[in-house]
């Protein structure tokens, strides 16, 4: 009898010790709404959930709305945020941090080791908030570079790509065309977007500003860095393009780069799949660095359009959420990210790691963007970022697109107005607003 009891006791102990039941609760994860990222999320979550020792993750695309930022904003207000959200734009982090909506990630013991192992050294400080904490985990980037039409350059006898603004415009007489003789060009040199929305300036002025300044952003702490020759040079570049008709002052209903109506085009890696899908047989293109005012030996920086991961303060399981963030940014997960989404994880070993080598061999154009990862710049840490870009957009439009104010005045005006905003922020009060 005693023997039976001992056996039962031992069996009970074994069952309790050997079988690990799934922890209670569930982590919610919102991903971006594009089909590729949904597929990536599906695969990563499925792999995570296979391990029953993990808190299970339930994912869904961010709910429909005007923009994902608006949906997240509404969720913060309603305290209905998920535990984890990927694809967050760093430009909104400071607002969320000030509202206490996001978890400080460097509170986790292994955060530093994970971050430093993954992210190139050059990028680490870009994602640190003014209070020296990290509230976002840097995930992926889409560096902006210059696409060019190979066929049109060859047709014009151009063999060397422009490195400086002067070289760029020197190509214009051989490339721009007025086919119907109406006095207006029908083939242009470059096609920056003419819309006045603040975020459009990330894809023309800001990208060129970063390249011209050797990788600097608009602010150095609380100091506005706009009042400098490079700002004037960038504005002059765009002004000249519009003034001489080399850049179209119009909105088009077609992709004019694909239609071979423009020779150069600023875009990120996302354009590759679009061009590959829709290009005609005679359309050949390449990708190169942005032109700068003065060429040198230094690398040319660009805007990286980074998208990161946050854990919202509403989570009941911050540690478990952090474990999932590590899982979805692991070496293997980044391989899936590349394969499924063609987006570039911000990894220091992206080019050197053998795990990714065959992918880049098969996708050589994407490798050009991958090599640019250490030289990307994100956004400044300010709650007024959108207003700052509103100001820049207004001054850019007046000085460059319509030439109704001199460059020097535009630089002075944007510096003064942005400084007023930053002063307000640094005083710790939002003024009247």
């Amino acid at each position: 009898m005693l023997q039976h009891r001992l056996i039962l006791f031992a069996t009970g102990l074994c069952l309790a010790g050997c079988s690990q039941s799934r922890p209670e609760g569930v982590l919610t994860y919102w991903c971006a709404t594009n089909s590729f990222e949904i597929e990536f999320a599906r695969r990563i979550v499925a792999e995570w959930n296979q391990d029953t020792t993990h808190l299970p993750v339930r994912f869904q695309p961010v709910p429909a709305g005007q923009s994902s930022e608006e949906v997240i904003l509404a969720a913060i207000v309603g305290r209905t945020t998920p535990d984890i959200y990927s694809n967050i734009w760093p430009g909104v982090i400071e607002q969320y941090r000030e509202a206490g909506a996001v978890v400080r990630l460097d509170q986790f013991a292994d955060f530093d080791s994970v971050l430093y192992a993954r992210l190139p050294d050059e990028l680490i400080e870009q994602f640190r908030s003014p209070d020296s904490g990290f509230y976002q985990f840097p995930w992926k980037a889409n560096p902006l570079l210059l696409y060019y039409n190979k066929g049109l350059l060859e047709e014009a006898g151009i063999t060397e790509l422009p490195r400086t603004y002067d070289q760029f415009f020197a190509l214009a007489p051989r490339l721009v065309k007025d086919f119907d003789g109406d006095g207006h060009y029908d083939r242009w040199l470059l096609d920056p977007n003419v819309m006045a929305e603040w975020w459009q300036r990330f894809f023309d002025f800001y990208t060129f500003y970063i390249a011209a300044t050797g990788g600097e952003s608009l602010l150095d702490g609380h100091e506005v860095q706009l009042d400098r020759p490079e700002t004037a040079a960038v504005l002059s570049f765009f002004r000249r393009g519009y003034q001489e008709g080399y850049f179209p002052l119009s909105i088009f209903q077609e992709d004019i780069f694909l239609a071979q109506k423009v020779v150069f085009h600023i875009s990120g890696p996302w354009s590759i799949s679009h061009l590959e899908k829709y290009k005609t047989e005679d359309f050949r293109y390449g990708i190169t660095l942005l032109p700068v005012p003065q060429a040198g030996d230094q690398p040319v920086h660009t805007y990286g359009d980074p998208k990161n991961i946050v854990i919202f303060s509403t989570t009941r399981y911050p540690q478990e959420a952090w474990e999932f963030v590590k899982f979805m940014t692991s070496r293997a997960a980044d391989r899936s990210l590349l394969e499924i989404t063609s987006q570039l994880p911000m990894r220091r070993d992206l080019i050197t790691d053998s795990l990714y080598a065959d992918y880049f061999t098969a996708n050589p154009l994407l490798e050009i963007f991958a090599r640019q990862i250490p030289f990307i710049v994100g956004t400044d840490h300010t709650i007024y970022l959108q207003e700052i870009f509103d100001i820049i957009s207004q001054e850019y439009e007046a000085a460059c697109l319509y030439q109704v104010q001199p460059i020097a005045q535009a630089v002075a005006s944007m510096t003064k107005r942005v400084t007023a905003l930053i002063d307000r922020e640094s005083r710790g009060k939002a003024g009247v607003q």
């Binding site: 607002q95 909506a101 929305e197 209903q253 959108q386 439009e397 109704v404 607003q433």
Partner: protein, 292 residues
């Protein structure tokens, strides 16, 4: 409470009971939001924070001093100057045509309403494509050697927006005019004809004066609409070029939901509403006539 109820007659109770759902609806749907909106206009609040700081009239003073407020005001006046005459002329013309036909009148009238019930975002995209640099309109015009920068010229961008809005409201305003035309007794025209009045005299001496209620309503609607234009410039021009299509509602939207200055956005909205009401009041004084 019981004594109060006792004093109210039972049939009055039934009356109160019948209007109760509407009262509750009004309290929830607009009275509470309105009061809440007014209250935050005196505060500094960034929507995502729980902290709201009372700052008195500062938001209102800042709105009045903001250059974009006056740019939006000027743009609104420009919009009205283009939109109101064109929409009234066209919708009255359509109403006169519809009034003359008996066959399939309802069909045509309904057809004109399609634009009114179309989704703003959808038709804005379509118009954007049509009016773009190499869109269908400019392709046609290039045949006679003209290219019009519909949305990229600061001088005509707002007029282009107004034309789109005219298209949207043409059918709706036509129906208002049509109802007005059909309410004019035919006997008035018959007696005028006996008195020797021609078509043109009848139109200017009978039709136009007796359409005064329709004109008044359309003027009021058009003014209120002018202060509320949002979807078309937001979707097509983003307020540009050179802020020439910035509107009040776009500014309210940007301040509130993009820049997260909810208190400021609310004070902006209150000022715009006050100006809108003043315009409506003024126009009613000028246009509205007693035609009894």
């Amino acid at each position: 409470m019981i004594s109060i109820l006792a004093k109210v007659k039972s049939n009055e109770l039934v009356g109160y009971g019948l209007i109760l759902p509407y009262l509750i609806y009004s309290l929830i749907i607009w009275v509470y939001p309105l009061m809440w909106g007014i209250s935050i206009a005196f505060k500094r609040w960034n929507i995502i924070s729980t902290e709201k700081t009372f700052i008195g009239l500062s938001n209102f003073i800042q709105v009045i001093h903001e250059p974009l407020f006056w740019i939006a005001f000027k743009n609104t006046l420009y919009f009205m100057v283009v939109f109101i005459p064109i929409s009234i002329f066209l919708s009255l013309s359509v109403a006169l045509l519809l009034n003359r036909i008996n066959f399939l009148r309802s069909f045509f009238a309904s057809g004109y309403l399609i634009s009114y019930v179309s989704a703003g975002v959808a038709y804005s995209i379509v118009f954007n494509l049509m009016f773009s640099g190499n869109g269908i309109i400019n392709t046609w015009l290039s045949g006679i050697g003209i290219t019009i920068p519909w949305f990229s010229s600061p001088k005509i961008a707002m007029a282009s927006i107004a034309i789109i809005v005219v298209w949207k409201f043409l059918g709706y305003y036509s129906l208002i005019f049509l109802a007005g035309l059909q309410s004019i007794p035919k006997t008035i025209y018959e007696s005028a004809e006996i008195d020797g009045a021609g078509r043109i005299t009848q139109f200017f001496r009978i039709t136009i004066p007796l359409l005064n209620p329709s004109f008044t309503i359309i003027f009021i609607f058009a003014i209120m609409l002018s202060f509320n234009v949002f979807t078309e410039p937001y979707m097509i021009t983003g307020g540009g070029p050179l802020d020439s299509t910035q509107t009040f509602v776009m500014q309210i939207y940007y301040h509130t939901f993009t820049n997260l200055h909810a208190g400021y956005g609310s004070s902006f909205a209150i000022i715009v509403a006050a100006i809108s009401f003043a315009f409506v009041f003024f126009i009613r004084k000028i246009v509205e006539k007693d035609i009894s």
